[in-house]
Amino acid sequence: MHDPVRKLTALEWESRKLKIPDEFAAQCRSLRGFIPGGVEYLFTPWEYSCRGDLLLRRLRFDSSPEALRLWAFLFSEKDRLFLAKNSGARIIALMKDLGQTAVLAYAFPGQLSFYADELWWAPCFAESTHLLDAASDLGATEELCYVRAVLGAMKTLDYFPRPDLCVAGVGACCDDFSAVMQLVEGLGMPVHWWEMTAPVPGGRGSVTPFGGVPFSEKDLAFVRGQLAGVVSALETTTGVRCSEEMLRGSVALFNRLRTIVRDLRELVYGADYPPLPGLEMYLAEFIAIHTCSEPDQCFPVLEGLARVAKERLAQGLSPFKGEEPPLRIYWVYPPTDASLIPLLEDMGGCVAGTDYFINHAFLPLREDTDPLTAVAENCFDDRLLCSPAMRADAIVRDIRHFRAEGVLLSGIFGASHCPWDDRIISERVRDELGLPVLSFDVPYSPGRVSEQVRSRIEAFMDIVRQRRERRA
């Protein structure tokens, strides 16, 4: 398949899929560790839309088979969880930390772990409020951010089977999810609670080796102990005794995974003409936090994508066309409505760097210390645990690194961190970099993009464009 680089609709992929070589499709099988021969997952966005994720019909997708595989891999996670459960696997719902406890969980055989937090985008992809409605019935009403969909999913169990264990990080976490997790336990789910601690601005001695975030040795010892408690809970649930060797193996696995995603971000977000669209990158970034419930397949999926990116860069190919390179926009907060990213691209922009809450999951984990200490250090790198000013500093560094020309904050109404972070990040970006900033809350807008949001992005892109022209 050597077609031109372009974007395809879900229906276009439907007819184009027939051209995909059988050898490629045959590689796209997951759950080989649980079901002999594995299970096929390479279906088109149209087919996944027929299973309920209607937003896919409004999106356009990169034309490479590797991108199709990426989409299929993500949207087949639900199937994997149900099939694995039927095959006797333990299902672990990880909640809140976004990247660290998965390292511990995947040290264990016979289980699949997923981040329940990711259900947060399900109402927008499904263009249905049924998860939100189920959450409302239990008390999680619209004052909370979309993460309340997790509670709805725990009630309906139509996105994943009943978890054998929920691992819940609390303490220095957002109020919305803390409240949701408590209601999850109220449903009778087995929950192991662990305390997350916030780094202290200014520091108390040490800094994390890769994120440069200050922490005290006492806090580190405490977090390490909390993670040891998570390991004990996993041992009880799986019936497997965890050795240090198993943990070291998982740290190495996640380091390999994080390296691929980190390098991919550098390749794509650093290019004047990015070799991949922002939506595919959005999906790829989230694989870094938990392998998308399939450690075996996540590597060929991401390596294939990275190969495409490198080949396109070498050949000067890009889905972004035009005489002038696209306007470079740094994106803050994962957009609840994924269609906003292609909207930005249709208006002449591209994503040039992101803070989707998961940047700590792109950092390496030390392999020259004990695994629990390495993961505990990484906990302090979580920007949501840091002060808003520390997060703003990190974002400003990123923006400089990726040479962004504007910053877009797609906020989340009701999220306990947004009222603080929005203002501080926006002011810091304007004061230190003099860049235009657009900040808005993403509304629930099934079937179409909100006209108000469209107008605001359009006006913002005009400002960024005029600024570039003035500087030329």
């Binding site: 408590q182 601690t197 202290v200």
Partner: protein, 313 residues
């Protein structure tokens, strides 16, 4: 007091609008009002030399993380654990000890005196017992009771005795939920107008009163007592907190419970359905601190009390 400082707790509603100038409006009104008090140096906030920023919820965490920049005053941060384990208790004690060291290092204190600390804590426990007994007698008018509690928490006024009225109210209402700061008196005010009894159960009520007697005046023992006394809705898990509240309502002979939550206070607001399943009438009042909300809350409270009066007639 062990460090030779004069503690003051900022449970006072400052000018919310002034706080709103610095953050988005979808923030807890109490946090916004504290922020307003800090930036305008009003309502006692201006007299603070340094802050011990012990955060519980995410909104207070971010407030205290930014407070030093906003106020120009030194802030000593402290995380109150949500989990209720021995490890969390130990870490909290370590953190409080570390805070005390930092206070001394920063020059705000010349050192810690465990005898002075224990004397103050003993007085506080005695005052708490007096206040608890007064509240459970239902013979203190609601607004006076509210003032006594706020005096206890904000001004460190520990009552030796409380004057009791001879008449007891017909309907007794327990109130729990988000912090009730000075200036937020719509519930006790309305109950007073209606002649109903008032039992404050929130963190500026009975659940905030200390009850654990520390073994000595060491920082560690005092911190541990504070940890063990906490009945915060943010505790994880928090079943024990809900059971305690239900037990207080039943044991005190209250006829109903008001769950008063502030807008965007997720930790209380999301518990409303669990509260509604409790075996007594429950009214959920969600409001901010604006004058417009007072009327609405007052009317709803009035209807609730009348319903209970009819039921108990």
């Amino acid at each position: 007091m062990g460090l030779g400082l004069q503690p003051w707790r900022g449970v006072v509603a400052g000018p919310e609008r002034a706080g709103e100038a610095l953050v988005r409006p979808d923030l807890c009104p109490f946090v916004k009002s504290v922020l307003g008090g800090i930036v305008t140096c009003s309502e006692g906030f201006g007299s603070v030399d340094a802050w011990a920023g012990m955060y519980t919820c995410d909104m207070t965490r971010r407030l205290f993380q930014e407070l030093e920049r906003l106020s120009g005053k030194k802030v000593f941060l402290l995380q109150f654990p949500a989990t209720r384990t021995a490890e969390s208790a130990g870490w909290f004690c370590d953190s409080v000890e570390n805070l005390a060291l930092e206070v001394v290092k920063a020059g705000f204190s010349s050192g810690y005196d465990p005898v002075a600390a224990l004397a103050w804590e003993t007085e506080r426990l005695r005052g708490a017992a007096v206040l608890r007994a007064a509240a459970l007698s239902f013979r203190v008018p609601p607004l006076i009771l509210q003032e006594l509690f706020l005096g206890f928490f904000a001004g460190n006024t520990f009552p030796r005795e409380v004057a009791l009225e001879s008449r007891t109210p017909g309907v007794r209402i327990a109130v729990t939920g988000s912090v009730m700061a000075r200036g937020d008196d719509v519930v006790p005010g309305t109950l007073a107008e209606l002649g109903a009894g008032y039992l404050p159960l929130g963190c500026t009520g009975l659940s905030g009163l200390p009850s654990t007697v520390p073994a000595d005046g060491s920082i560690r023992e005092l911190a541990l007592a504070s940890f063990n006394d906490a009945r915060c809705i943010r505790n994880r898990p928090n079943h024990g907190v809900l059971e305690w509240i239900a037990g207080q309502v039943v044991d005190s002979g209250c006829h109903g419970l008001v769950l008063k939550t502030l807008s965007f206070c997720d930790l209380w607001h999301t518990e409303k359905e669990r509260f509604r399943r409790m075996p007594f009438p429950v009214l959920v009042l969600s409001s901010d601190l604006s004058p417009g909300e007072r009327g609405r809350s007052s009317v709803r409270l009035q209807a609730f009390v009348e319903t209970l009066e009819a039921r108990n007639a």
